[in-house]
């Protein structure tokens, strides 16, 4: 395959952003995503764009606010503790309705935690780590190729809805190399950024980038507008994969990111033992693919199991989607421990009662 190259997830993020027309990158080093910044520092000057290492994650996200407000495509990247520091800034960006892409290559927490792969920032990403009623669109790629595709999509979705989009992977995805292809992408019709504050240049009225609405009536109206937008996104942007879900199933795994690949291997193992297990793989963590559950709910004997590299965070969204219609189980590892297919298969056998 001549047009495929082996690329580290973190570097693929950078290259995908460049392909998507990312004009500015602001970052701060943190394991396991440092290579994003390193890659951008090499490449962005070569393509005449902006790489800047900020003094902190707080500064980086506010630089993003500045550049996004000026109407250019902009990205920042970090890992868990760094994302926490961006919480205020992300809330501002969501409040001011600015499009941008935020990468989180998750590591184990809480606190300084560890640097190995984890998924324990699910809540933070999907329920809004920052204050106020806002939502990020959250993409969760499972391979370096999908990372490349989703990072590019992320810029489009951000621009389409004037909303920040987070692309979340774990340390594995950031560090691993896989073959990737930068596909020709059809040009998207996207709204013009007439709101951008980039200098009047003859424009009559000044543009203002702002999230302050001192009058409660106005702030409520603004929130209502945001909520409408979120409903629109829920309608249009849900993405997921159904794997092995066509027939009657003993159980359906729900799992995202790299971990979902391990789950697929577990499914293959179980198949050999006569246990048929499906997989719902949410690709958007928000909006959550509730409809995927509706599609399979009548075909699963023992309900669902949320398999996570966290202590039961996505579990709540699974329960909300299932809403009591079937049992919901959980299997999780944490702190950088990556479950093996055998382990997952074992847990599932415990639930479905061994081979048939």
């Amino acid at each position: 395959m001549a047009d495929k190259v082996l690329m580290k997830g973190n570097e693929a993020i950078g290259e995908a952003a460049i392909h998507a027309g990312c004009q500015c990158f602001f970052g701060y080093p943190i394991t396991p995503q440092t290579e994003v910044a390193a890659y951008m520092s090499r490449r962005m000057p070569k393509v005449g764009r902006v790489f800047l290492q900020a003094e902190s994650e707080v500064a980086a996200i506010n630089m993003v606010y500045g550049a996004a407000g000026a109407g250019v495509r902009v990205m920042t990247s970090s890992s868990s503790p760094g994302i926490s520091l961006k919480a205020e800034g992300i809330s501002y960006i969501a409040g001011a309705e600015l499009p941008c892409v935020i990468i989180n290559i998750v590591r184990g927490g809480p606190g300084l935690g560890g640097i190995q792969p984890a998924q324990s920032d699910y809540f933070q990403a999907t329920k809004g780590g920052g204050h106020g009623d806002y939502r990020l669109v959250v993409f969760a790629p499972a391979s370096v190729q999908e990372m490349v595709d989703l990072v590019q999509d992320a810029f489009d979705v951000a621009d389409k809805y004037r909303n920040p989009v987070m692309v979340m992977g774990d340390g594995m995805l950031g560090q691993m190399m896989e073959p990737v292809e930068f596909k020709e992408r059809p040009k998207k019709e996207l709204p013009e950024k007439t709101w951008a504050a980039n200098g009047l240049k003859g424009r009559e009225k000044h543009n203002i980038i702002n999230s302050l609405f001192l009058k409660p009536e106005e702030l409520e109206a603004h929130n209502n507008k945001l909520q409408e937008k979120y409903r629109e996104i829920e309608k249009n942007e849900v993405r997921y994969e159904l794997y092995n879900c066509d027939e009657e199933m003993d159980l359906v795994i729900v799992s995202y990111g790299t971990l979902s690949r391990i789950c697929k291997n577990a499914i293959k193992m179980l198949k050999k033992e006569g246990i048929n297990v499906g997989l719902i793989r949410p690709i958007t963590l928000w909006p959550y693919p509730v409809e995927a559950f509706d599609k399979v709910i009548d075909k699963t004997k023992n309900g669902f199991i949320s398999v996570e590299m966290s202590c039961g965070q996505m579990l709540e969204d699974v329960q909300l989607a299932v809403n009591g219609r079937k049992p919901v189980h959980f299997y999780g590892r944490s702190g950088g421990m990556v479950p093996t297919p055998a382990e997952i298969a074992n847990k599932i056998k415990g639930i479905v009662g061994g081979a048939k």
Binding site: V58, A59, M63, A67, A70, V72, A197, L200, H206, N210
Partner: protein
């Protein structure tokens, strides 16, 4: 008759929310006059802070941002990098710039970011009702230093201009005051120079403006300008602190 003095165009013709006598208004006007005189309204982008001047975005005629508390220099950096031919200024209070935003202003200066910062030092947090600022004078009574700022526990005021002057990326740093007409004229000159430094692409410029807060100082506007003169200027000496275009560092 010829007009000797009138409202600058870069200042929108709307009433401000500032308290009677608050010199934020004067400083706004000076910035607007400079924008007018330099003819840069079309490419100027301003960044308002969180503080009493949070609504500055409604007052300046150029494109405007409202930045998170203390982060205006980072926001300005993002703007300037995205639109390199723009003229970007931040307008920040002493709580905003010298407390929560310390890292951002130091690094914008160290980077020699081609932006201009108007730093309004009124020795207090005006917006939130008069708490101690990093620039509150020793012994000064505020909402959170009710017994007077005790340097033993609350520390010493920061002389921002002197601190920023130690950074190689800072090209022009001057402290001015708006307590009197002669000082207002000097303040305008400093602001103009700071913008010119940016237009010449030389690096970071900052003008610290000593300003009054009659409301939270509990003084009338005229008492306030006197208090500024008698108390703030001795602690925060006026003048050019650094001018790399002449090699001057004071």
């Amino acid at each position: 008759m010829t007009v000797v003095f009138d409202r600058p165009k870069a200042l929108l013709d709307v009433p401000t929310h500032y308290c009677p006598g608050c010199t934020h208004g004067v400083i706004h006007r000076l910035v607007a006059e400079v924008i007018d005189e330099l003819g840069i309204l079309d490419k100027t982008i301003g960044v308002a802070p969180v503080g009493c001047s949070v609504l500055a975005y409604d007052y300046f005629a150029c494109d405007m941002y409202e930045a998170a508390h203390g982060r205006a220099p980072a926001v300005a950096t993002g703007i300037k990098r995205a639109v390199p031919d723009s003229v970007v200024f931040t307008y920040q209070g002493d709580g905003d710039l010298a407390a929560i935003g310390t890292a951002e202003i130091v690094h914008a200066a160290a980077r020699g970011e081609k932006i201009t910062t108007i730093f309004v030092n009124n020795a207090i947090y005006g917006m939130t009702g008069g708490q101690m600022a990093p620039t509150t004078l020793p012994g000064q009574v505020t909402e959170t230093s009710p017994y007077g700022r005790d340097v033993k526990t609350a520390g010493y005021p920061i002389r921002v201009s002197e601190m920023i002057s130690t950074l190689d990326g800072a090209v022009y740093v001057e402290r001015v005051s708006v307590d009197s007409v002669p000082n207002i004229i000097k303040a305008k000159k400093a602001i103009k120079k700071a913008f010119e430094i940016q237009l010449q692409g030389l690096g970071f410029s900052l003008v610290e403006v000593l300003s009054i807060c009659p409301t939270n100082w509990g003084l009338s506007p005229n008492e306030s300008v006197k208090w500024l003169r008698d108390n703030m200027i001795p602690y925060y000496p006026l003048g050019v602190k650094k001018d790399a275009t002449t090699g001057e560092v004071k």
